[in-house]
């Protein structure tokens, strides 16, 4: 199992696009957008909060995880299935489920890497605060990451081919980014959209990240939606996953 992790990690790092889009891009966006002067001005629509305080870093964390869960993970798994990598493994004493586990771990680690860089870069370059409720932040991050990866796993299970998987992933990812408040923060969303946002898993994840960043415990409803997303998508992914 250790060796699968090691080899698969190397393969991910060899794929420059993976690292650039999932880790480098969100950090770069944080720094570029964060250096726009309006971002650092207290905004009455946010109760006097600045956009760089919680909204921007939380959205960039979400962007990193969505990219990993909805493009990287499904693309790799669907391609492995298409090329017979999983089937080949199933002729050895090692169950291909270990490969699946390795992919989840690697994407989680990349996500952790991205969030650490986001927090550190924000602190050093933009002077934003570290998450004020660190334990809550870590727990929310892990729950949200698990829920999004489970959704990605479901896409990998249903995708007909290695090429289709990231396309399907992307076409789910952008609407999720929108309802999660990437472009229109939740505070200024119309009511109907806010309802959609609150059930979208990505929306509650973003809210919970912002809450813990600001030092508050997240809304229980947010955690329930994320937990439900994790359970439902995991069950469906296991039900529909094909090894070949």
């Amino acid at each position: 199992m250790k060796k699968i992790l090691l080899v698969e990690a190397k393969l991910h790092l060899r794929d420059v696009g993976t690292v650039v889009f999932s880790v480098v891009l969100p950090v770069a966006l944080l720094l570029v957008i964060g250096s726009i002067p309006q971002m650092s001005e207290p905004d009455p629509a946010f109760g006097g909060e600045r956009l760089i305080d919680t909204q921007l870093p939380s959205m960039m964390t979400l962007l990193a995880l969505l990219t990993l869960a909805f493009t990287v993970l499904p693309a790799v798994l669907a391609t492995y299935r298409e090329q017979g990598v999983l089937r080949r493994m199933s002729t050895t004493p090692m169950h291909p489920g270990r490969m699946l586990a390795a992919q989840l771990v690697i994407n989680l680690v990349l996500g952790v890497g991205a969030v650490v860089l986001l927090v550190v870069a924000g602190r050093l370059v933009l002077g934003t605060a570290l998450p004020r409720l660190p334990v809550g932040f870590v727990l929310v991050f892990l729950l949200g990451a698990a829920a999004l990866l489970a959704m990605g796993l479901l896409i990998a299970a249903l995708a007909p081919s290695g090429k289709a998987a990231p396309l399907i992933g992307t076409s789910v990812m952008f609407p999720l980014m929108f309802v999660a408040g990437m472009w229109v923060p939740r505070e200024v969303m119309p009511d109907a959209l806010r309802v959609v946002s609150d059930y979208s898993v990505a929306g509650p994840f973003a809210q919970a990240l912002r809450a813990t960043w600001a030092g508050q415990w997240p809304e229980p409803a947010n955690l329930v939606v994320m937990g439900a997303g994790l359970v439902v998508c995991s069950v469906l992914a296991v039900r529909f996953f094909r090894w070949e």
Binding site: K3, V85, P93
Partner: protein, 301 residues
Amino acid sequence: MKVIEVRNLHKRYPGHVAVDDVSFEVAEGEIFGILGPNGAGKTTTVECVAGLRVPDGGTVQVAGLDPRHERKALHRVLGVQLQSAALPEKIKVWEALDLYASFYPDPADWRELMERVGLAEKRDTAFAKLSGGQRQRLSVALALVGRPRVAVLDELTTGLDPQARRDTWELVEQVRDSGVTIVLVTHFMEEAERLCDRIALIDRGRVVAVDTPAGLVARVDAEQRVRFRPSAPVDDALLLALPQVREVSRSGDHVTVSGTGDLAASVTLALAGHHIVPADLRIEQATLDDAFLALTGRKLS
């Protein structure tokens, strides 16, 4: 001692029967060929042997194990080489070998194996950059890295150029000499004839015959034909007098003699006795193709 036993194997897919009724036994240490045209059910048969598919009927035993219920134990003694590419594109040769070695409790030394299949120079090459022959050799190495008792090699040389094909054949013979029993799936007559100790001819999901290559050819009551251009006129009667000769025919300068037994030797000897040289001498003998045709009424390829 038999290491594989397949009894009345039956496997249906929606809409068609892939394997109707297949039985055979493979002895320890032999190269056993499964030969038949495309779509005959060869791959499905070995997939059932390898535990990748569940048969709808019949029994399979590999080294005393039931592939259906003892998969993990089975995969420790059975190495499989599958038809198509089955590694991530960017994995390097040594990484693939090292990774697969880690799947087995008592693996072979993969460095030595890499040497043996002639990939030492390609150690750091990505899978996607290997040639067809190199991929096949890596695939064989992966099938052997767990020190299996039995290796299943499916369509090993399909798509290879003649030189790569011969190299791969030599590799298979070396593997057998190291004590591994080999099941070789092929639709390629020359390959089966060259490598296999025994062959199961399969057609339309059924075993037509199981025998040695020579035994299969001998089942065809095949006539041999000797064709040549005589250096001087030759009388039919001279040739027809030979006990091996059945018929003599001519077209242009060429004479074709049909018959059985030691035909070529007796014809050339008789000609030499009359100081006639047979130019452009060609001898046509029965092949596995002929055997397949005779047994099924269909051509192999």
